[in-house]
């Protein structure tokens, strides 16, 4: 009896109509269970405040403008870091992908530095740039840089050999080959690199702001830890989750708009 009802529920979740339902059913159950556990005294609200408290805290941070201010600071740093990463890593990745000897020359260095976690750079960057803006941007830049660099190299390497040969047989010179064939063929990988870079940017910026900054979402989270305000900490964490998700979706949307041919290209 119970089994058949469960099966009925699962069947109801199939198909394209209830896609949204499938998407929210697990979070909704989690939130309901969470709220109930705290109210029933199963969880200590100091360690894990109930969703209703978090909602109230979010409202408070929104009204005072504190959430937006810190968000804007973090976002600005991420934008700056990623801009610098694109401007440096894309040309470098292109040269490394195109010229084998240059790639061999750089390969050792890149692979030596790459495994060092961006966070391990924090002490050195504080020493170099002091506490504040520059350090945070530097740490974020390092994480974004390698994501973009590696995807650019892979993109250039992965250009279909037939396309290169076709272009050469149509009379393409080396310059035309790079600008009209290799560059557009690499764009999907560049997008992938940028999406990964934005993802890791949020990871490292929060850590950097925890230590080296007096503003930003990372700082905010750490600040409220000192005040034991777990509800406000959770507001900060959830904000990062939501923003990260929206940015990734935004880039996906942009990619579909700009590179409509990509889907079929991958098949």
């Amino acid at each position: 009896m119970r089994r058949s009802r469960l099966r009925g529920l699962l069947r109801g979740l199939r198909g394209s109509g209830p896609r949204l339902l499938r998407f929210i059913v697990l979070p909704a159950m989690l939130i309901a269970g969470w709220e109930a556990s705290v109210r029933l005294g199963l969880l200590n609200p100091v360690f894990l405040p109930p969703p209703s408290r978090i909602l109230a805290a979010a409202q408070q941070l929104l009204v005072t403008g504190e959430l937006f201010r810190n968000f804007a600071d973090s976002l600005q740093r991420i934008a700056l870091a990623n801009l610098v990463a694109i401007v440096t890593a894309v040309p470098l990745g292109f040269f490394m992908g195109l010229y084998r000897p240059f790639e061999e020359m750089m390969d050792g260095l890149v692979n030596l530095i790459r495994p060092i976690p961006p966070l391990a750079w924090i002490p050195l960057s504080i020493l170099w740039f002091g506490l504040g803006e520059k350090s945070v941007v530097f740490i974020t830049l390092i994480s974004a840089f390698f994501a973009i660099l590696l995807n650019t190299i892979a993109g250039v390497r992965g250009v279909d050999k037939s396309l290169i040969r076709a272009a050469l047989s149509l009379g393409a010179t080396r310059r035309v080959l790079i600008t009209k064939v290799v560059l557009p063929a690499t764009l999907p990988s560049l997008f992938t690199g940028l999406r990964i870079a934005l993802g890791v940017s949020w990871m490292s910026i929060v850590a950097a702001e925890l230590i080296a900054s007096s503003s930003g979402l990372g700082f905010m989270i750490n600040y409220y830890r000192e005040l034991l305000r777990s509800d406000l900490i959770l507001v900060g964490m959830l904000s990062i989750g939501i923003i990260g998700f929206l940015m990734d979706r935004g880039l996906q949307w942009l990619e579909r708009r700009l590179l409509p041919w990509r889907v079929a290209f991958e098949l």
Binding site: D160, S162, L163, R165, A166, A167, L168, S169, L170, G171, A172, T173, V176, K180, V181, P184, A185, L187, L259, P260, W261, V263, A264, F265, L267
Partner: protein, 267 residues
């Protein structure tokens, strides 16, 4: 008769001849293609027919011997040799018309004139109305029509085709064989194309060619050169004539002993 492509004592070896770990892909192959002649290379896998085509195209270098086009030795890929690939090699980010004008624009031709020529050839291969589609919106047969238009519109001295119909379904293939002959035919402003056509299909070679070069594997050698006497234009009626069937049967008889269960296996 003017010799368009002259292949003299060409050998190709992969690997190192010194340490004994090498493969003779081509062994002392000589042949010539006259102006306006359609020559097919046919033979079992490993007979070096694609390698020979790639050497003529300039994608690979001969280990020994020489290839010249209009008396000039081949130094690399160039617009004088148009290439049609099995996998189409269309630029996925360009529409049909942009693909076809790619080579024309590189010649410094005025944009209007590029469009005119491109539309003429797009019409010739039966793709009118599809000028602004992207390759991923086309069927396999239509993609190959587009690739054919792109190569021929660029007016190369020699057209090189590497199993262009191998990935096309059997019904479309028959139709496309006629299209290929039509496109390569003499036109008001240009003579009949000289073609080297690589194929696995005896029927296809007989239908298309003026001469068939039968090759044998390990090492790749020319076994026999067979003239095909049928008049142009050729159509479905040509395929049904006894002479056509006889010739196809004769070639199969020649090749049969080279195609066996042991031939496909690696040594």
């Amino acid at each position: 008769m003017v010799i368009k492509v002259d292949i003299v004592n060409v050998s190709k070896t992969y690997g190192d001849e010194e340490d004994g770990d090498f493969v003779h892909a081509l062994d002392d192959v000589s042949m010539a293609v006259q102006e306006g002649e359609f020559v097919s290379l046919i033979g079992p896998s490993g007979c070096g027919k694609s390698t020979l085509l790639h050497i003529v195209a300039g994608f690979e270098h001969a280990t020994r011997g020489r290839v010249s086009i209009n008396g000039r030795p081949v130094a690399g890929p160039g617009a004088d040799r148009g290439m049609v690939f099995q996998d189409y090699a269309l630029f996925p980010w360009m529409t049909v018309i942009d693909n076809v004008t790619f080579g024309l624009k590189l010649r410094g031709m005025a944009a209007r004139r590029c469009q005119e020529i491109a539309r003429e050839y797009i019409g010739l291969v039966g793709l009118d109305g599809f000028e602004n589609r992207f390759p991923h919106q086309l069927s396999g047969g239509m993609r190959q029509r587009c690739a054919l238009a792109r190569s021929v519109a660029n007016n190369p001295d020699v057209l090189l085709m590497d199993e262009p119909l191998a990935a096309i379904d059997a019904l479309t293939r028959n139709a496309l064989q006629e299209e290929i002959l039509k496109v390569c035919d003499a036109r008001a402003d240009r003579p009949r194309k000289s073609v080297i056509y690589v194929t696995h299909s005896i029927e296809e070679a007989v239908f298309l060619s003026d001469r068939i070069v039968v090759m044998t594997p390990r090492p790749g050698r020319v076994l026999e050169v067979i003239p095909v006497p049928f008049d142009h234009p050729r159509n479905d009626g040509t395929r049904l004539t006894p002479a056509f069937q006889q010739l196809a049967g004769k070639i199969w008889g020649t090749l049969k002993s080279y195609v066996g269960p042991r031939e496909g296996a690696l040594p």
